[in-house]
């Protein structure tokens, strides 16, 4: 798999003294959507935070387009083209939608590139254009999530990691968000996401990983995992 854009090898680590990851390996190739699923406590979000440098792994390495990036700060990774959308629809609530998007392009110096990115984001999420002068804190949950994703697109990153994009959204917005992720793939973005809504996430995924208790458990094409009853059993036991 030499065309991999990002590869994480055998990550071990977690918060402080507590290990959550006991050897997690993930990879994503250019143009793919890769989904990471697993029950709560499997270490999905922790793996993402470790990859983007919020957490430092105890062992293991992360390679992004041929360069080792283990433990590099998130703001520096963004400059290399690795964007991250944290869990929980995190936006700057007191800033307008437009300002939020501009902040997404903080690392981009050329105004022309910012304008182009803005146009792309507005095209993908027309609702953000409508609400561009509104304070982000007044948006609905789904709109905030779109804003968070749109903000990550502002640097035209080569890879976007999305942590639970559908978390806490109403079914209508869940559908919308997954539609948008599909559109993004068609537009040429490479995506890797952690999702709780496994069915939806697997349905759009090229490849998928299922984690359990900090270890890789299953791996394969999204549809294969979706059909596998063992995967379902991870969630509800029995």
């Amino acid at each position: 798999m030499s065309t991999q854009l990002l590869t994480a090898y055998e990550l071990v680590g977690g918060y402080g003294a507590i290990d959550i990851l006991h050897g997690v390996s993930l990879s994503v190739g250019v143009g793919e959507i890769v989904t990471v699923i697993g029950p709560n406590g499997a270490g999905k979000s922790t793996a993402f935070k470790t990859i983007v440098g919020f957490l430092r792994p105890k062992s293991g390495r992360v390679v992004f387009s041929g360069e080792e990036i283990t433990g590099i700060r998130p703001d520096l990774l963004l400059r290399r083209g690795l964007a991250y959308v944290p869990q929980g629809r995190l936006v700057f609530p007191q800033m307008t939608v437009l300002e939020n998007l501009e902040m997404g392009a903080y690392t981009v110096a050329e105004p022309a590139r910012v304008a182009a990115a803005l146009a792309r984001v507005y095209e993908l999420f027309p609702v953000l254009f409508e609400r561009r002068r509104q304070k982000a804190g007044t948006l609905s949950g789904g709109e905030q999530q779109m804003l968070a994703i749109g903000r990550a697109l502002m640097t035209a990153p080569r890879l976007i990691l999305l942590d639970e994009p559908s978390l806490g959204l109403s079914p209508k917005f869940v559908t919308l968000i997954f539609d948008k992720l599909g559109e993004m793939k068609r537009a040429g973005y490479t995506l890797m996401l952690v999702e709780q809504n496994a069915a939806r996430a697997l349905a759009i995924a090229d490849r998928a990983y299922a984690l359990e208790l900090g270890r890789n458990r299953f791996e394969g094409p999204g549809t294969a995992l979706l059909a596998d009853p063992e995967v379902k059993r991870l969630y509800l036991g029995g």
Binding site: A17, I18, P39, N40, G41, G137, S140, G141, E164, S166, L167, G168, S170, P171, V174, E195, Q196, N197, A198, A199, R200, A201, K232, Y235, L236, G237, G238
Partner: protein, 236 residues
């Protein structure tokens, strides 16, 4: 006739800004039973715990404990009435020793409290570390300490927020056995847990929350096959 409920929650609602975290949930807990509370991330389980224990003020609805209204009371008043809880993120008192963590929560005579605390520490095999600062214990040990700290007050209702997370298998089995013993001694237990093996093996009744609403209630086997529950977890 069913015995009077230990805890009765009616149409509890809690909003944060524009988000309704708990949306009209009603629960009824009978004495001497083990209940599970499950649901995907963000479904409102911890918020419900916080509303029961007075950490959060509820917006609507009521909570009665042993027939007595407890909503609107301060957390310590609710705790003194006999509801004990653990936290999702461990909240032991890091610069108190393990023993002190237990002693501090009761007003019993010191000798009796000490004896009880030592017994509980022995029970979770922490007696050798009784003088260690709680903050220096391992994650699993802190978890156990937090568990026995709840028992110090001998509450009638025990709320456990993810008791199994981060605890190794052998200890976990002891812990589950302890929970069963508590039930046998007449305690009621409500636990939030993600480890489904634990939930299914331990709980007699399971409540399922999704988007702040109660979507199912029943025996574990029934819940496991409930379409709405599978959907909530696995998506559609």
């Amino acid at each position: 006739m069913a015995s009077p409920p230990v805890l009765e929650i009616e149409r509890l609602r809690k909003r944060f800004g524009g988000v309704t975290a708990v949306d009209g949930v009603s629960l009824r807990l009978e004495p001497a039973r083990i209940y599970g509370l499950i649901g995907p991330n963000g479904s409102g389980k911890t918020t419900l715990f916080n509303c029961i224990t007075g950490v959060e003020r509820l917006d609507e609805g009521r909570v009665h404990f042993g027939g007595e209204r407890v909503h609107g009371l301060r957390p310590w008043e609710i705790a003194q009435k006999g509801i004990g809880r653990t936290f999702q993120v461990i909240r032991v008192f890091p610069e108190l020793s393990a023993l002190e963590n237990l002693l501090v929560v009761t007003r019993d005579r010191l000798a009796a409290a000490r004896e009880r605390a030592l017994r509980l520490l022995r029970f979770v095999k922490l007696d050798g570390l009784r003088d260690e600062y709680a903050g220096n214990l391992s994650y699993g040990q802190q978890k156990l300490l937090e568990f026995v700290r709840v028992l110090m007050r001998d509450p009638a209702l025990i709320l456990l927020d993810e008791p199994a997370a981060g605890v190794n298998r052998t200890l976990l089995n002891d812990l589950l056995e302890a929970v069963r013993q508590l039930r046998d001694r007449g305690k009621t237990i409500l636990l939030v847990e993600h480890d489904m093996k634990v939930v299914m093996g331990l709980c007699e009744t399971v409540f399922v929350l999704d988007h702040g609403e109660k979507i199912a209630e029943g025996a574990p086997g029934v819940i496991q096959t409930d379409e709405r529950v599978i959907e909530a977890y696995f998506g559609r």
